[in-house]
Point group: none
Chain length 198, copies 4
Amino acid sequence: MPKSPERCKEIKEEMRNKILHASMLYFAKNGFSGTKISDLAKYIGIGQGTIYVYFESKEELFKEIFKMTTYEKDVKDLKILSALPISARQKIHKLSKAVLGRLEQDEYFAGKIALNTQLVLEKSDYITDAATYQLELYEYTAKIMEQGQREGRIVEGSSMKLADYYWGVVYLYALKKLFTTKYEMITIEDLERTILKK
Amino acid sequence: MPKSPERCKEIKEEMRNKILHASMLYFAKNGFSGTKISDLAKYIGIGQGTIYVYFESKEELFKEIFKMTTYEKDVKDLKILSALPISARQKIHKLSKAVLGRLEQDEYFAGKIALNTQLVLEKSDYITDAATYQLELYEYTAKIMEQGQREGRIVEGSSMKLADYYWGVVYLYALKKLFTTKYEMITIEDLERTILKK
Amino acid sequence: MPKSPERCKEIKEEMRNKILHASMLYFAKNGFSGTKISDLAKYIGIGQGTIYVYFESKEELFKEIFKMTTYEKDVKDLKILSALPISARQKIHKLSKAVLGRLEQDEYFAGKIALNTQLVLEKSDYITDAATYQLELYEYTAKIMEQGQREGRIVEGSSMKLADYYWGVVYLYALKKLFTTKYEMITIEDLERTILKK
Amino acid sequence: MPKSPERCKEIKEEMRNKILHASMLYFAKNGFSGTKISDLAKYIGIGQGTIYVYFESKEELFKEIFKMTTYEKDVKDLKILSALPISARQKIHKLSKAVLGRLEQDEYFAGKIALNTQLVLEKSDYITDAATYQLELYEYTAKIMEQGQREGRIVEGSSMKLADYYWGVVYLYALKKLFTTKYEMITIEDLERTILKK
DNA sequence: CATGAATGAGTATTCATTCAT
DNA sequence: TATGAATGAATACTCATTCAT
């Protein structure tokens, strides 16, 4: 008789997640074509075949990683933040504090952000799926920018450009986190300066 | 066969440069492992074998590209700029204007900057070679930052961090130039804001 | 656990036979290299591992199947038939009737015959083991052919060739039985005509 | 400059045919799953990669072989034969003579016939393509059978069954040709006896 | 010199077999 | 004992490199 069927499913789910999470960082650091299944398996600490028990192919694994690393939750949080009855200045501050904090503590957060780039770098097609959430993230940020502009605390210019600039800098330091051993993280003020009026 | 021997060399040099320049952009966009020689040759419009007439291997081609895309000239220019008897504010302005200008007009400039990242992303070893010039670039920029700090026009903090931040943003928009079709370029003011005091 | 020890053995023997019989047909239809253990297990309705409880390897299973599907009993029957004090014509008739009858009713009989082919097709080495009985089958058949030739009812020619021809046709319709859904079975007369004189 | 472009295409076509022909016999003898690309390449005397220059995959190679080994020409010939103003007896004689003659001399003919079986054995889907011509072959043969029945020289029964029986025997000896080293080929009379009335 | 077909080392994927439960 | 997830050796397939033309 097999193990308890529920426990069994749990274990399978666990392994799948293990592969998914470990691969995410590996792909983020090495790119799709730079990642060999044999190396990846060794890195995860499993046999090559095991990967194929859970995923049909290298490509499919990559797609699944991508689904997993969606900005869904972040968008929800940002939506709430943007709707709060506080000044844009305060919103930006809260956002910057949260983002830089996670960036410093959570390598997965950095990986998630970097992966989006891999996708661009490797001209993948999954972008569309991802782009939706990324766009929402930008839109809510842009809204805050507009509020800030009305309040006179954020520089003039296309609010979308500003949002793009702001998140671009975040992405920049995600890359640094992932690929550099020694680097100086910017401060909250540094980040805010990209968009705040003097 | 025995055409004019000089003309012959010229022709050779021409083809070599053609390969070198076209490959630079291709590598910048696709990464080292993401680039297949067969695709590259098709992109350049030559036979695969031709590449091997001028370069020993894919790796060697990449190294040669790297030598070509050195910051040597830029360092020289920056050195001169940093030594000018003008305010840091003005130096930053001149630098930003020049950099953003080239970024907008010259895809090769964007490619050169992006390549440095490929190297980091793919954990290559040539970094040492490259790092030397990159470091000098950062050092001269840091010097300007320090001057600016003394003049009270540039924000406090490690001058190296500021230089790194400044060039990071430049790199960010080099990527956008290379990989995005529609994007809004930042203005000189946007770029300067990363480091200028209000 | 310690049920009746005999009953236990019985159960084991049952499972072993289940695997053996089901595999026989599967191998006969798909060939040795065309059979995946995972598919076979699914077809039988058991886990992959279970097969390895009863058989050391895919190869060993195949050998065991082969032992099981020996012509031993058929040879014995044919020996008796060939020794009967009746005309070759009658012997051939009895044989043809029996063979075509079994072919129509018993898929295992068809499978047994087809398997011999797999062995030839896949150039296995077990042929030697099998060949012995097959040879005897042919020899007793050839004897009947010779009797028939003396009686003037069977066509001239090498008696072995005729036996080979006769069983070849039987094999042909074993294949049809196994692999075809709609086909017309030959009659006893059709089969006899291959060797009978007009 | 490359070789003369026409000569080049010729050479390519030659290699493609070389692979196609050599593979046909190899597949016929070893089956689809029993054929390793590495072994096949060694057998042909080329590098493994070369196969992939001409064919997308093992499966595609197999399909191409199948297209090549169609009964197209045979059907045409048989159509002409069936329309000749001679007796069915004579037609059958001409056909049997031709078929057994080719079988003895031409291994490719045997391979072609055997391949059809591989397809059945391996339950492929290409059968449909092949089946068309096979069916025509059977239909023209059945016509001759009907003529023979009217002329009283061919045994009674479904003409299609007789055609199927006749070609079945041919297939049987194609297998013997391919897989057996020592065997006795049947004579024209042996073959004809399957269907001729005494 | 330029080419692209041929090659085989390297990489992705499959599948017989093991083993913890 | 029965299972099916895990494994790695075996196999299919890719791609940098060579070489005859």
